[in-house]
Symmetry: C2
Subunit: 259 residues, 2 copies
DNA sequence: GGGTATTTGTCCGTATGTATT
DNA sequence: AAATACATACGGACAAATACC
């Protein structure tokens, strides 16, 4: 038994794309033309194209047509000790991006005092509903939206004297070094949890990606610890998965030389 | 101007799901019932449901109905030095999985001698078209498909005497320790590149996920280096993103205590 | 700026096939 | 075997976005 017609059409178009007959960025025939070419209804043609869309091969632009997607030059997020120890918020994370001609930029933080939800509370080893300080920032590279980041700090840090984290001001040297100065608290390690999920509505808006969940987002949970093993903060960062990749190195590794 | 009707319907259903009115695993009203409830055509109802499907909230089963997806207890892939140094292929990677009651299993490797393609060649610092040995394995946890893994080794290792990597036999102590024994070559570090993409057809088949690309896959490139900084091997591993997450630790981090 | 043609987006109706119970 | 529910496919109509003159 053969595949349904819309799958056959999608497969035929896929081969034309991957074989290079339809190059990157070129326009596909219009739905009307494909309708005649394959002798199918417009519904069936649209089902075929939808399959190619969810596979990430083509994109449609209302009023223009259907196009083979261009390859995106990805941002590379380097995860390694040197970029993290002693560096904080903006400084540390901006340095994560591979150099090139790319200019990172960070928005002013939005600071809130709120109650810790389940995951935040458990990561910080606090009781559910404990008060925490959240600092939220939007981060750009070359003025294109790159990531959304929120850090959560236990309120006890403020009570101990680190009052500046309540101010909506970017800390050039990072919050971690500020904590070291004021409280003598040192970050000695962290744990990153990297997952993938469909984007929330506010995220699709910021990243300007389609809000139907076709493009997933990376979500990283970074829990930082001080010398006594107490969680210092939890940082949640969200990146669109279509333009980002992570690089993790261990041991002696020569400088990167590959794409 | 309000959103189109199918989006409003999808939004209404989404709220019912996330608020708990429609619990995990419960069945949604049938398309016919939804048609009457929202006074829309079946096409519009199906468009709304399709939106929820690509967002990963519901799934349809022909002949049964539409159901709210169950939450999956994810596999946690630990990326840290202790699991990698001195351990190899099967041993090292099996240990990546958090303990619990989960039993990892690895298929017999499929060994091939082939020419290195672009990425493989450049990662191994070989000329394009150089001969390499590939060892491909399917990996399971509790008999559910977990990941597909292919390692590429330069043919020069075989010529220097490491002929066992040509045999289609699992190496319980790992290929890396075998190379250390036979050739005295030690793996001193590695670099992981973690990306997300839509699955290939053979991958959807193995993982038993829908082949329309709704569920993305993690793809990790691990390049391992010896003491002289020469790439020893490249390992490509593919995991379905709906049931896996990565944990990366640096520095002093207490044993995990969180979900 | 405005109007028109083109192209995709939304929505309707209907019929038949296929999987499951 | 029959009923149910989703899957596929056809047809048509109008709206919205875009490009071009």
């Amino acid at each position: 038994m053969p595949d349904p017609m819309y799958r056959q059409i999608a497969e035929d178009l896929r081969q034309k794309i991957e074989s290079g007959v339809l190059g990157r960025g070129t326009q596909l025939p219009t739905e009307l033309e494909l309708r005649e070419e394959y002798d199918a209804s417009r519904t069936t043609i649209r089902d075929a194209i939808r399959l190619l869309i969810t596979r990430g091969l083509v994109e449609t632009r209302a009023g223009q047509g259907t196009f083979v997607v261009e390859q995106i030059d990805p941002f590379v997020i380097i995860v390694k000790p040197e970029t993290g120890f002693g560096l904080g918020e903006s400084a540390g994370y901006a340095a994560d991006v591979t150099a090139g001609s790319r200019r990172p930029r960070v928005s002013m933080p939005r600071v809130e005092v709120q109650q810790a939800t389940g995951v935040i509370a458990s990561e910080l080893l606090l009781a559910d509903g404990s008060v925490v300080v959240s600092r939220h920032q939007q981060r750009f590279i070359d003025d294109t939206p790159w990531s959304l980041q929120t850090s959560f700090y236990p309120m006890s840090l403020v009570e101990q004297g680190a009052t500046h984290i309540l101010q909506a001001v970017d800390m050039p040297n990072g919050v971690v070094s500020y904590l070291a100065e004021v409280l003598g608290v040192k970050q000695v390690g962290w744990r990153d949890k990297i997952t993938v999920r469909t984007p929330e509505v506010n995220e699709t808006g910021f990243f300007k990606i389609l809000e139907d969940g076709r493009i997933p987002v990376f979500e990283t949970f970074r829990t930082s610890f001080d010398e006594s093993g107490t969680p210092l903060r939890v940082t949640i960062t969200v990146y669109p998965a279509d333009r980002n990749q992570f690089v993790v190195s261990f041991g002696d590794v020569p400088a990167s030389a590959s794409a």
